[in-house]
């Protein structure tokens, strides 16, 4: 029986917060090969530990090459072809929180809801012989939400970064993006639609549905599901 594979974020705030959480339940992370290494050991867990980008972790969990991982729910939802059912969120960790939202220019006084956006999209197509552009890196989440809201009059434009600038620069008219405070959206002259919050995402301990599971693997899940010990701090 091969060991179970756990992935944690390889950089930034998400990495630090994941390590803090693991330490709080008694499992200190030790990176192999120093700060630049891409494997690690987690104290008290007999598992292979990989340091990957949050996006690679989501992909590995859905595809089944990882058993467990910590990553953002936004990425899990967007990368899964089937939606829910491709992965199982075991525990929401309370950090890395952000909303995935639909935002339109504030100047669009006539558009406050997804239904208004549908009407604006239809009128736009009639006038311009093309569809309204929606810029996003969340192609699947956007498509599912727009379908759920019965909005068909739009085209997706894949955005690699600075999505919030797309309406101002003219590459798109509407965006679907993550936001924490909404300040960046407001600074770019955008507003979130009344029913435009698609997903309230946070970092989550997630289990792969496709990876092969054994009793040993399940035992590791149990260890990770324990509550933090009182008064624990990040080890020096």
């Amino acid at each position: 029986m091969s060991r179970i594979t756990i992935a944690i974020p390889s950089k930034g705030r998400l990495k630090e917060q994941t390590e803090d959480w693991l330490a709080s339940i008694g499992h200190t992370v030790r990176q192999i090969g120093g700060e630049r290494g891409y494997t690690a050991e987690i104290e008290g867990l007999d598992a292979e530990v990989r340091l990957l980008s949050a996006s690679e972790i989501a992909h590995g969990l859905i595809e089944g090459s990882l058993h467990l991982g910590v990553t953002g729910e936004d990425l899990l939802h967007d990368q899964s072809p089937e939606g829910l059912g491709d992965f199982e969120v075991l525990k929401r960790l309370g950090f890395g929180g952000a909303d995935v939202v639909v935002a339109v220019p504030q100047a669009w006084f006539d558009v406050d809801t997804m239904a208004d956006l549908e009407a604006a999209g239809a009128a736009f197509r009639k006038a311009h012989h093309r569809r309204l552009r929606v810029a996003t890196k969340y192609l699947r989440i956007t498509r599912r939400y727009f379908a759920q809201k019965s909005v068909g009059e739009y085209r997706l434009v894949e955005s690699a970064g600075a999505t919030e600038a797309a309406p101002a620069t003219g590459t798109a008219d509407v965006i679907v993006d993550i936001t924490t405070t909404g300040a960046t959206l407001r600074a770019n002259g955008l507003k979130v639609l009344d029913d435009g919050v698609i997903l309230q995402s946070q970092a989550s301990l997630t289990r792969s549905v496709r990876a092969p599971w054994s009793e040993e693997a399940n035992a590791i899940v149990e260890l990770l599901m324990r509550q933090p010990r009182a008064g624990t701090k990040r080890p020096i």
Partner: protein
């Protein structure tokens, strides 16, 4: 018969009917299906980026590239009626586990002929004959008519804004229900005042600068004002009347043998006083009679459902699917219908022609035959 033998048999049926063989482009700009049908189809498309980064698509069916050729031919000034036939590969991401990504469609497309019950019935009979020639006895036929719902909307005499909204909503799963349930929301006072100004565009522009809001995105001030006027009209109309609501909910429920469809719809017309829908219903009835005359066998199982075919995105009238034993409802062995607006849509309104067509799926018929024997 094996797959390739079925292809040959179906192909012979269509070629004997006078179709010109055609093998159109495999690769199309992704704009063609996405602008025409919307993002809902993206989940099924085999997309890739070309060397310049432009989004391209492997043809998801043969109707699109054949119609594209036909649109170009007509834009170049050529006219006349044309029938094309093909036996060619199409590419779609599978929905069912046993569907293939790459499969053969054998089909027929006719452009520029008189549209009417006889033309629809003739096309249906030909596709049905090709299925039978492949040794498959259909277990069912579903026929829809995408002109019926719009005809009822027109007959209701609703404000244009609401009527257009409902017609679009009909094509979306759950859309009509959402429109019926939606309540009109009042406009903010400052914004409502813009519409009362002598020059609404100037007033809107003034309000935007007063609030320090930039004009981003591709919609102009007049377009935003038009949107505000539509919302105001919807508020003033006070939502749909009880009559309209009841009629649309009843229309949505219709799911009956095709032979009863015209009378069921006529009963609705009488109950709700919607005589305007009469001609569309008469056309449906005439088509049912014409199909019955040509393919009596099909009529034993043929059903009509108001919402059927709403997701056949560029179709706009008659639509059908032929089902076979042992296959799921989502895996018809043949399908087709009428798309009189397609050439106009593909040519940006520089050309127009009636269109009707259908295909058979040998990859699925092979499985039917295994199940039977």
């Amino acid at each position: 018969m094996k797959h390739d033998a079925l292809v040959a048999v179906a192909r012979a049926v269509f070629e004997a009917s006078g179709g010109t063989p055609i093998d159109p482009d495999y690769v199309l700009p992704a704009d063609i299906p996405l602008e025409l049908s919307g993002e809902a189809v993206r989940a099924r498309l085999c997309l890739f980026a070309d060397h310049r980064g432009a989004e391209m698509v492997m043809r998801p069916d043969l109707t699109l590239p054949v119609a594209q050729r036909e649109a170009a031919r007509r834009e170049a000034g050529e006219g006349g009626a044309k029938t094309y036939t093909y036996a060619a590969r199409a590419f779609r991401l599978p929905v069912a586990p046993d569907d293939q990504l790459e499969f053969t469609q054998v089909g027929l497309e006719r452009f520029g002929y008189d549209a009417g019950p006889e033309a629809d019935a003739e096309l249906f009979a030909l596709i049905h004959r090709a299925v039978e020639a492949c040794g498959v006895q259909p277990s069912g036929v579903i026929m829809g008519d995408l002109a019926i719902f719009p005809a009822f909307i027109d007959a209701l005499g609703l404000p244009a804004v609401t009527g257009d909204l409902l017609k679009r909503a009909f094509r979306q799963e759950g859309g009509v229900r959402a429109v019926l349930d939606a309540a009109a929301r009042p406009l903010e006072a400052d914004i409502a005042a813009v519409l009362e100004a002598d020059d609404p565009a100037a007033a809107l522009s003034g309000l935007l600068s007063a609030r320090n809001i930039p004009l981003a995105g591709g919609r102009s001030l007049p377009e935003i004002i038009e949107g505000l006027q539509a919302r105001k009209a919807a508020i003033e109309a006070g939502g749909l009347s009880q009559v309209a609501r009841a009629a649309l909910l009843a229309l949505r429920e219709i799911d009956c043998p095709l032979t009863d469809a015209a009378s069921a719809l006529t009963a609705l017309v009488k109950t709700h006083g919607l005589e305007g829908a009469g001609p569309a219903i008469a056309a449906l009835g005439a088509r049912a009679d014409a199909v019955l005359a040509r393919v009596p066998a099909a009529m034993k199982t043929a059903r009509f459902r108001t919402g059927f075919g709403r997701r056949f995105t560029y179709y706009d009238g008659f639509v059908f699917e032929i089902l076979a034993p042992g296959l799921a409802l989502t895996q018809p062995v043949a399908a087709g219908g009428r798309y009189d607006g397609l050439i106009s849509g593909l040519s940006n309104r520089r050309a127009s022609a009636t269109g009707v067509g259908g295909v058979v799926r040998p990859d699925r018929m092979v499985r039917v035959r295994r199940d039977v024997s």
